[in-house]
């Protein structure tokens, strides 16, 4: 940057040269001049707020695999771009510091959590499920099909996707014969 350039940026010079008022663009710093919104150049995914059942539309801005911000979607016929304080803050639901990102395991009678890799955990869970099912499953009673185990249960939340609910019911009931399947939607 040469001296002339620097001088012409001085608000008083601008005032003299352009009869400006020495404010706004005349007075802006380099930093201000180069400011861009935080989701500048970001990609956007269309989503739905996970809190209440109004189902407000959300625009999820992300860049390089990182979430940047979540805003209301003006094209939603339900919310018309609006979000309530909770919905506006749903970005933090996904990014706050206490979010768990690793598998944790507690042995019987143990007093502490241990680390476990995902694959081992899955194998162990699969084995538990199968053991419990194998010795509790009843195929028939009095000559009539029962195909049931009451020794394994499931409790789901109502923020599970429809696809998740479908697969859970299909696997647990249609596959494993579990009948103790519930959800917070039971009222």
């Amino acid at each position: 940057m040469n001296v002339k350039d620097l001088l012409t940026r001085w608000p008083v010079v601008q005032q003299i040269l352009t009869r400006g008022d020495g404010m706004h663009a005349d007075a802006a710093s380099d930093r201000t001049r180069n400011l861009v919104p935080k989701h500048h150049g970001a990609q956007v995914a269309r989503s739905v707020c996970p809190y209440c059942a109004v189902g407000c539309g959300q625009l999820v801005y992300h860049k390089d695999g990182k979430l940047i911000s979540i805003e209301g979607d003006p094209e939603s016929p339900i919310s018309r771009g609006r979000l309530c304080p909770k919905g506006s803050d749903s970005h933090e639901l996904l990014t706050h510091a206490n979010r768990e990102t690793r598998v944790k395991y507690r042995r019987p009678h143990s007093t502490k959590w241990e680390e476990l890799d995902l694959e081992t955990a899955m194998d162990m869970i699969a084995q538990r499920v199968w053991d419990s099912r194998e010795h509790t499953f009843v195929e028939a009673r009095g000559g009539e099909a029962l195909m049931q185990t009451t020794a394994i249960a499931h409790l789901g939340g109502a923020t599970l996707d429809n696809e998740e609910n479908y697969l859970l019911k299909k696997l647990f009931a249609g596959g494993l014969g579990m009948v103790c399947i519930s959800n917070q939607a039971r009222i």
Binding site: A45, S47, V48, P50, A53, V54, G55, V60, K66, L67, S79, G87, L93, L94, E100, T101, V103, K104, Y105, R106, P108, H109, S110, T111, K112, A121, D123, I125, A126, R128, W130, E144, M147, Q148, T150, A151, I152, A153, H154, G156, A158, L160, D161, N162, E164, N165, Y166, L168, K169, K170, A173, G174, G175, M178, I181, S182, N183, Q184, A185, I187
Partner: protein
């Protein structure tokens, strides 16, 4: 859901949030909509700007009350009395939409001579069995309707899970009726007698709503209904969480039908559900007594012998339940693929049979008795959100294994080292034999999928980023991916052949 299901066939809101702006009056009860469904409330405010009267009836003065035109305090739990008062007001003052109820409701249909009301039997309806503490609903049926396919006379019945298995519905067009609504046994007259006791004075006594205020609300709501106008009712958990929630909602449904407010712009009942996909979780249920689309689960010894028995218990002669066989076969084929054939009844015998109350509260009782070995918890927190949390936390300690999938380590995951019972010495960590697996979950912006909102709009949400670390996705049509993610499905991928049924499920 049963309140709306019994009345309208399906347990869901009868209207959409944006349609509220077409209402001439909106009655909000059991809800603080302005604060708890704030973005949906914009449509109420829009209606108000267009001249609608907003009525809030609630024990608490809230922000919803602050913007209402009329506001009544209500003694907690007296909702049925208040709504009963409105029903009575409609019937006594001839405010009903006559043409509508004659043509679109069962008001004109005659009920069996055997039916006796609570006035006749000192508080009980006919059919009460004191030994079993249950009603036998046979005497409540319509009189003289057409015979069913099996030659027996059938009885009207509509329902959430269509679960009673005792009575099936009839073709209402074949029933004896009186379109003048004068016959003493027509539904309209029975209703009139039944609700006669709900006078404004009774409402004042039961609900604590001053008589004049009640009459003003009744007049406002009824004046906003009729051939040229419509009024809506909004409710939330302030109704549903009562032990008599079903009866409250059913009374609201009766009121709206009498006024002709169902199925018309601006009218209806708006069930404000609490969570993103509460409605979806019953439509495509993870509940013990129903299958997707409200098909009832087979009940052992009731309807489960074969498909013919199942259909005969649940097929209605009018409406969409006439097609129950098509729905059921479609579902079984979706479940069992090519293994479902006509010869094996599409795998109907592979479905587990229900033998009792396997709901959350039912199986937690069994858990306490040591009858439940394993529990999956995905997105719920029974240790703090159950009906009796101390009991539930102690029941968790009886499990062999527990799998929790969530965003944070919630109380259900930490009951064994950090709970009031540990603090009080009722449970000791070293003595708890439960094996606990905590699996991190993916959030809503980290997976593709859809929610069904409060008005039954199914909305897709796109995946924006990958979930962090081990966090898991259990979603989307690609079931191969699910095999590696929904834990128990993986069991199926681990050499557990030899069980045809399970293989077929994949």
């Amino acid at each position: 859901m049963p309140g709306l299901g019994t009345t309208f066939g399906r347990g869901g809101a009868t209207t959409a949030l944006p349609d509220l702006m077409n209402a001439d009056a909106i009655l909000i009860m059991g809800s603080n909509m302005a604060e708890n469904h704030p973005v949906g409330f914009q449509w109420v405010m829009e209606a108000k700007e267009r001249g609608a009267k907003i009525i809030h009836v609630d024990p608490r003065f809230s922000r919803t009350s602050a913007v209402a035109d009329l506001r009544a305090p209500l003694r907690a739990g007296s909702d049925v009395a208040f709504l009963g008062g409105l029903v009575s007001y409609v019937l006594d003052n001839g405010k009903e939409f006559r043409e509508y109820i004659v043509n679109y409701t069962n008001a004109a249909i005659l009920v069996s001579e055997k039916f006796q009301d609570t006035e006749d039997l000192d508080g009980l309806f006919s059919g009460w069995d004191p030994k079993r503490q249950l009603y036998d609903p046979q005497s409540w049926a319509y009189a003289h309707c057409g015979a069913g396919p099996d030659g027996e006379e059938h009885f009207a019945h509509g329902g959430h899970a269509k679960e009673s298995g005792q009575i099936t519905a009839v073709d209402l067009t074949s029933c004896e009726r009186d379109d003048t609504l004068q016959h003493p046994r027509c539904v309209y007259q029975i209703l009139k007698r039944h609700f006669a006791r709900y006078t404004p004075d009774m409402v004042e006594r039961a609900c604590g709503v001053p008589r004049d205020l009640f009459l003003k609300i009744a007049d406002t709501f009824c004046s906003a209904s009729g051939p040229e106008k419509t009024a809506a009712i909004c409710y939330a958990v302030g109704w549903t969480q009562h032990s008599n929630g079903v009866q409250i909602i059913r009374t609201a449904a009766i009121l709206q039908l009498l006024l002709g407010n169902i199925g018309r712009p601006g009218g209806g009942i708006m069930a404000l559900r609490g969570h993103a996909s509460i409605q979806g979780s019953t439509d495509i249920p993870t509940l013990y007594d129903i299958l997707p689309g409200y098909l009832p689960m087979p009940k052992f010894g009731v309807n489960s012998r074969d498909l013919t028995t199942y259909y005969s218990k649940h097929r209605d002669r009018t409406g969409w339940w006439w097609n129950i066989d098509k729905y059921m076969v479609s579902l079984l084929k979706a479940y069992y693929g090519e293994a479902a054939t006509k010869e094996n009844e599409w795998g109907f015998s592979w479905l587990p049979r229900v033998t009792g109350d396997h709901s959350h509260q039912g199986y937690f009782l069994d858990m306490m008795d040591g009858k439940v070995e394993g529990l999956f918890v995905m997105g719920q927190n029974p240790a703090t959100a159950g009906p009796h949390t101390r009991f539930e936390r102690k029941a968790l300690a009886k499990l062999k294994w527990l799998v929790i999938r969530d965003l944070v380590e919630l109380e259900t995951a930490s009951f064994w080292h950090d709970s009031p019972e540990i603090e009080r010495g009722e449970l000791r960590t070293e003595e708890i034999a439960t094996e606990v697996f905590f699996l991190p979950a993916a959030g809503h912006a980290e997976k593709d999928g859809c929610f069904t909102n409060t008005q039954r709009l199914v909305q897709w949400h796109e995946k924006a980023v990958d979930p962090p670390g081990d966090a898991m996705i259990a979603t989307a049509g690609d079931e191969v991916e699910v095999v590696s993610t929904v834990p128990a499905l993986q069991a199926l991928g681990h050499g557990i052949e030899g069980n045809d049924r399970v293989d077929e499920c994949l």
